[in-house]
Symmetry: C2
Subunit: 343 residues, 2 copies
């Protein structure tokens, strides 16, 4: 899922998002609720109408940003009080608030409020966060039923925490599975832990999530990480990586990333990736993109965002085809080997 934090996938119009085959995008509840506000967005046609995107939208609950961006937060049993990182205003997010905001936004997939413990975290503190997250998830589920959110075709996904404690992860996954959500996220990964530990946590959680429901790791990852998580049974991903680095001139390719500001691309007539069927690769050379970045032209970020997003979407499309063909295992290992090989 391309990430549209503030009501726009940065640097690209929905025309180009459609063109690269984006099926669903992500919006950030925390940011949109602070600015411009969820009631305003509701009154202007929901997030779909507001940002001119007619495909599905998943929104997070805002909880993660409360823990990572805001100051002076206070976690209570009924939610979390915090100060806005924009203007310092004191705000509160509980299950009722996050479900209300996501209903205002018109999310197709709403995430429950959870408490994401830092890494590393003591076992007792982690257990407490898991209990609280379970209570909040149950409450979010109830609100989604009572308010008609679920009945009107919207979905709610739960988030299984547990940090590095396998038994807590198993417990959390099992308890949430009993609540019959539409999908399940592995939470508390990519919060500072080393990559092997991150993959270990995904491996420790995924088997305990329901077989027939989508599994989602939030905020991840690099192309090899995505393939490794698919191998562990994960179905959905979102990450700012392809869009953020695009604006700095970093291009993803099957042979690893390229810094297009490099002098060696000065006269390179090739597209970023030969044969990749997106607007940027069909029409522009590496030399042109380099020129745009060297000249400080916004269009460089736009064109490379289109390419990078398409590269990720194409990668998961390939993975899907290989799973269906039955040779995902050797294919993904070969793909990662080529990508990571020193050039």
């Amino acid at each position: 899922m391309p990430v549209g934090t503030q009501g726009t996938v940065k640097a690209v119009t929905p025309v180009h998002l459609r063109d690269i085959g984006a099926q669903i995008i992500l919006g950030n509840t925390y940011h949109l609720n602070l600015r411009p506000g969820s009631e305003l967005i509701r009154d202007l046609g929901g997030l779909h109408g507001f940002m001119g995107w007619d495909g599905p939208i998943l929104t997070d609950s805002g909880g993660f940003q409360v823990f990572s961006l805001s100051k002076l937060r206070e976690i209570r049993d009924d939610g979390v009080a915090f100060q806005s990182h924009l203007d310092g205003a004191t705000l509160f997010l509980g299950p009722k608030e996050v479900m209300g905001i996501q209903a205002n936004l018109g999310s197709d997939i709403a995430m429950v409020l959870d408490e994401c413990p830092p890494w590393p975290v003591e076992r007792d503190a982690c257990a407490l966060a898991c209990e609280r997250s379970l209570r909040w998830a149950r409450r979010c589920r109830e609100i989604a039923s009572e308010s008609g959110f679920l009945a009107s075709g919207h979905l709610v996904f739960a988030i299984a925490q547990g940090s590095t404690y396998d038994d807590l992860r198993r417990e959390a996954a099992g308890a949430l599975a009993d609540l019959d959500f539409s999908g399940y996220a592995v939470g508390g990964v990519s919060v500072g832990e080393p990559e092997p530990e991150m993959l270990r946590q995904v491996a420790a959680t995924a088997p305990f999530l329901p077989e027939g429901k989508p599994r989602y790791t939030m905020g991840l990852g690099t192309p090899p990480q995505i393939l490794r998580m698919i191998a562990l049974g994960v179905d959905m991903f979102d990450c700012v990586l392809p869009t953020r680095v695009a604006r700095n001139g970093l291009a993803f390719t099957p042979d690893g990333p390229l810094n297009l500001r490099n002098e060696k691309f000065r006269a390179d007539p090739r597209p970023v990736v030969e044969g990749l069927d997106n607007y940027t690769c069909r029409n522009f050379s590496r030399a042109y993109l380099r020129h745009l970045f060297m000249a400080g032209e916004m269009l460089g970020g736009t064109l490379l965002t289109i390419h990078n997003l398409h590269f990720f979407l194409d990668l998961v499309a390939q993975a899907r085809a290989r799973i269906e063909a039955g040779d995902f295992g050797p294919w993904h290992q070969a793909w990662i080997r080529r990508y990571e090989e020193p050039k």
Copy 2:
């Protein structure tokens, strides 16, 4: 003509340029020759191939930027020596150089090298600049013939100078008309003189340019200026105004410009201009655009560039229709009255 100074109409992909009906765009010889260099562009398919634009391109000669941007310039009879504003390198542009560069770029319409005197300027200095410009124009014309540039279907436009001296303007226009160029620009306007003086100079030049050839005022203007110059017989315009102010949140409308950062647009559900058929007005509200600008999102500049350029293209399309219908005079006066009326 939308302006594409450095090989991109800032902030928009050619997809959106096509969509708003852009028929021709402008490229800047001075900038493109310094970075990335005209040979490089030639080797990568000319400016059309390089920037992915398959419509016509007009390029200026680079002379204006030599006079306005570079330091330590020395005007000689065979051209002008100057220092690059990027790295201080000493460079030279004469008729041979500017025609060679524009041939490398693959310009559909090349402009001759001219000397644009400042405003105000003494009569003697102006007369000298006119003589030199005429010699350079003749030399550019010869080079375009000898090199096959004209024979291969490319056009060359001359530029009539003369500053505030009507007789010098008449002389310049007449002498250039005798050389049978494909089109003619009124040069030396919008170089600091007040608007009435600018219009007076256009009025003093246009009648002496050939009837059946396009007339072009370079680097102009606001919507009312464009209409007033059309009334004076001008056919072609280029200006960074619609694109530059778009990136700061200024939107053109028939009721004058709007600053979309203004609080009063916070919840305004209307498009920038009701009923205007461009991507931005069809899909997005003023409130959404305001949100993008307040949140510092690049997409704001992109969407407003699309609107502003389309607003200008639509304006000249309307003017064309009114000329054909025979009521351009009263129509353009009413249009300007509405646009300039205090709100």
